[in-house]
Symmetry: none
Subunit: 145 residues, 4 copies
């Protein structure tokens, strides 16, 4: 199972539109397959040149560890050394802040992850959720309801 | 001057459509700004997981050297050592085969570059040209007319 | 839009002169285009051999994130893990101390950034401001007035 | 012994002027001290974003091996494997083509090296020689008289 290009493009478009509607800073949105490879990416005009790498990292890290951002943050709080080593192993592609979100289908199967960066982390995450919803898919952030 | 997200998305969409219409293998298309940062990327279902890096490399290399693929190929034929060193300096992001194309506006100003990978190099390049034409912009490949 | 070589050379020269006039330690000054590539660099006699990399990093990081040093410092204080990962992603080319300054034209368009290192960070920043003023351009540091 | 900033800036300026006068492509010129650290760099408008790395590499390699470009080229012809390994060790900062030139004082003492890139290698080298001559210093290229 993996996300399709069409689904990924819908997520990118809808996440960016959410940011524009909400008046967020320019965003970059990356959608990755379960193996951590890019399927689609869009960077709004004015979003800095490192933002594609950060957007990829947000999604790559949750896939790489199989842990949500919040679970990664809890682990980093328990053991900063663990976080430092794993972030280095990953070439920096592990982030503990919100904005990397698992994408699942209606039966809970993993299709990939989306990473959003450019504004406050919770705003980045909100844009990711808007994108996933627009594609008719299910998001998992690790936030408690 | 830099390409806009909207122009970049048009190029990705039209280049992928060209590949589908022509019956090419699944393609990956990357559009970069003049500094070599991603603006938009799309990978068709079935295109391998290294393809995003290759698509980026095709565009990154022509921008980094300010030379078309064909000029890079000629330089590599003259001096394989030059190519080896420069490809290493670039982290591999220099390719001498067709499929990395400069994007210019109607007055010749550099807006970025597009890289396409997945089929024969000349087919990749044809998809890039179709994408740039769809955005109303001007392509430079280094091929003689 | 990008800074010209002539503007960049004026910034380097004037920033270094400012340091000499003020009795600062030997400085290194780097001017980068908006994509993060060097346009001009000068290292004063006695400035250590890592200083060129630090000067580049100060400018590269603000461009890469689209955030001033002070905004980066605030983000790092909120989330040290974010800083760790992003600095690794950037190969260390993100610094949170003053001395990396955006360069804009009179209409606010981004032309690049200057990085200065060698003395106290606020002195480095003062040299950057002197350089940008000498070129008739506009500086953005993130400091409150 | 090491080159001064003033000498290095003279070399950069005169090498770039030579290129302009001769109608060369846009050039990038880097001057390094004997330890391989940048002292001064200038990149002309339109020179690609990888050119600073290439200019540095041309100078860094001759200093790192203590061999001229031509001696490196001869060694690479004898043993391509040697070249490949050393270029990788150096992160690509070894080039066998002309354009990296030792800078010596009137008594033959090593002060550093200059690297020039952007046009044909022999033109790059001619610009380096013009720069070194303008600073009243002595060039060593490895070319036979």
């Amino acid at each position: 199972m993996t996300i399709t290009l069409e689904q990924a493009q819908t997520i990118v478009r809808a996440a960016l539109e959410h940011g524009t509607e909400q008046g967020f800073n320019p965003l970059t949105v990356a959608v990755l397959d379960p193996g951590g490879a890019l399927v689609a990416l869009g960077r709004q005009d004015g979003s800095g040149h490192l933002r594609p790498d950060i957007a990829v990292a947000k999604a790559w890290g949750v896939l790489g560890l199989g842990m949500t951002n919040r679970a990664i943050a809890a682990r980093a709080a328990d053991s900063p050394e663990f976080f430092t080593s794993v972030a280095t192993l990953a070439g920096g592609r592990i982030l503990s802040v919100p904005g990397g979100v698992f994408i699942r289908d209606g039966e809970g199967r993993l299709l990939g992850a989306v990473g959003v960066t450019g504004d406050l982390s919770l705003n980045d995450e909100a844009a990711a959720l808007a994108g996933i919803a627009a594609a008719g898919l299910v998001a998992e952030t690790g936030a408690e309801d």
